[in-house]
Symmetry: C2
């Protein structure tokens, strides 16, 4: 299907086509397609842009990544499909390790997603040979690597499910979530929740790395003053003001 570049929904339609192709390849699952739809709806409520509350969370998250001893970016099928190059650039800028971690895990699918990241230019990608188990999760999703997620002090989890986010927090890790639903269990559990679309959030964060790298004072200030629950409440208020204004637009 050819989508004209001037179509008002060009970006979202071409993203859907990309996901559809990667679904045929087995990189994206059916559950992943439905999850993408949920994301589309929540992004619509943000006006499909990075709101100030998200930008603030992104700066705090970058500060945590730069402060970390062993920062890891967890990549699932949808993240690999949507923004592999962007994840790689962030991982190189910080630097942080990349680990593939799937909700619907089979060794074939892990191999496919790792290879997809490698083809996109990733150096080392963890996840092929998990040797550790996250406590408190009763499925294959618990599998991870000691070198990566298991011993990470800070984990960036774009598009994570609630069980895993909660398990990572319970292990004492700093969890940085990218999640468009400000009411999700992941959003509530995370140390820092970035309510933003992942293909906008990751490049934004990469741009922030340079400014924060040589400014430990600023990083400390950002991480110590940030209140995630309050930021989520302000995000919800922002959404409400936006959708009410959209509804009023149509007043006769």
């Amino acid at each position: 299907m050819e989508i004209p570049k001037d179509h008002p929904r060009y970006k979202s339609l071409s993203t859907r086509e990309r996901l559809a192709e990667l679904a045929k390849d087995g990189i994206v699952t059916i559950t992943g397609l439905i999850a993408h739809g949920r994301g589309e709806a929540f992004d619509y409520l943000l006006g499909e842009r990075t709101i100030p509350q998200a930008r603030e969370a992104e700066r705090v998250a970058v500060s945590y990544l730069l402060e970390a001893r062993n920062p890891v970016i967890s990549v699932n099928g949808n993240v690999a499909a949507l923004c592999p190059e962007e994840v790689i650039r962030l991982s190189e800028a910080v630097p942080a390790k990349i680990e593939v971690n799937l909700f619907h895990r089979t060794s074939e699918r892990i191999e496919k997603v790792v290879r997809h990241m490698e083809r996109a230019g990733a150096g080392r990608v963890l996840g092929r040979n998990p040797d550790s188990i996250l406590p408190g999760i009763s499925s294959d999703r618990a599998m991870c690597t000691r070198e990566g997620i298991y011993t990470a002090d800070v984990v960036l989890v774009p598009l994570e499910d609630g069980d895993r986010a909660e398990a990572l927090v319970a292990m004492g890790k700093v969890v940085l979530a990218v999640d468009l639903n400000p009411l999700s269990r992941t959003s509530k559990a995370a140390t820092v929740t970035i309510v933003d679309e992942v293909t906008r959030a990751i490049p934004e964060m990469t741009l922030m790395v340079d400014g924060l790298r040589d400014d430990p004072e600023k990083r400390k200030e950002l991480t110590s003053s940030f209140d995630n629950k309050e930021n989520l409440r302000r995000t919800i208020r922002h959404i409400c003001r936006y959708i009410e204004s959209q509804g009023d637009k149509d007043k006769e």
Copy 2:
């Protein structure tokens, strides 16, 4: 995959499994899976229940169906997948015709969806042999039957796309939409917008048929006093109150 019946997300997880199966059969498309995800997100914002504004719209919609000379229920892949029996029961109660009308139209897929409805117990299903074209739509989606949608005075369109909803309104038809996004083009274009999940909305409407069948006064009162734009604004306010209360729940 087996989902335990006591799982808090049992309904939505088993619905996803059903859609996944029908996606393999070609009844549901990849775009349909993503659209289902969008619906899940919006339903979450309603608290996954029929809100009073939706119930009011459902009563008005049933009144229009009972007043109609040639009422038609338009069925696409997702509707056929989610609630075939429920659609058939409503079509028998009114009575109204059923016409299959697909966004991603191929004659094979039309045949599959029509057969799916027939297997679910539908008597006559229109759509196999379209002989008319809706003006103002430049794709195969414009194809419909003269006996059904083309000459219908009232069309119930669950999960419709914006272009078709607008085209049906432009033809002077009464358009009854079931759409979980109160800001969508379909929601704005329709005569009556039911912001409710389709598997809840259709059975609700069927239950309302008996009470309204012998009460033409009540039907007239309902259809003449209904203000769709105002009802959508009240729906948005309801959503905002709900999500703000959910956000406040987590106040420390």
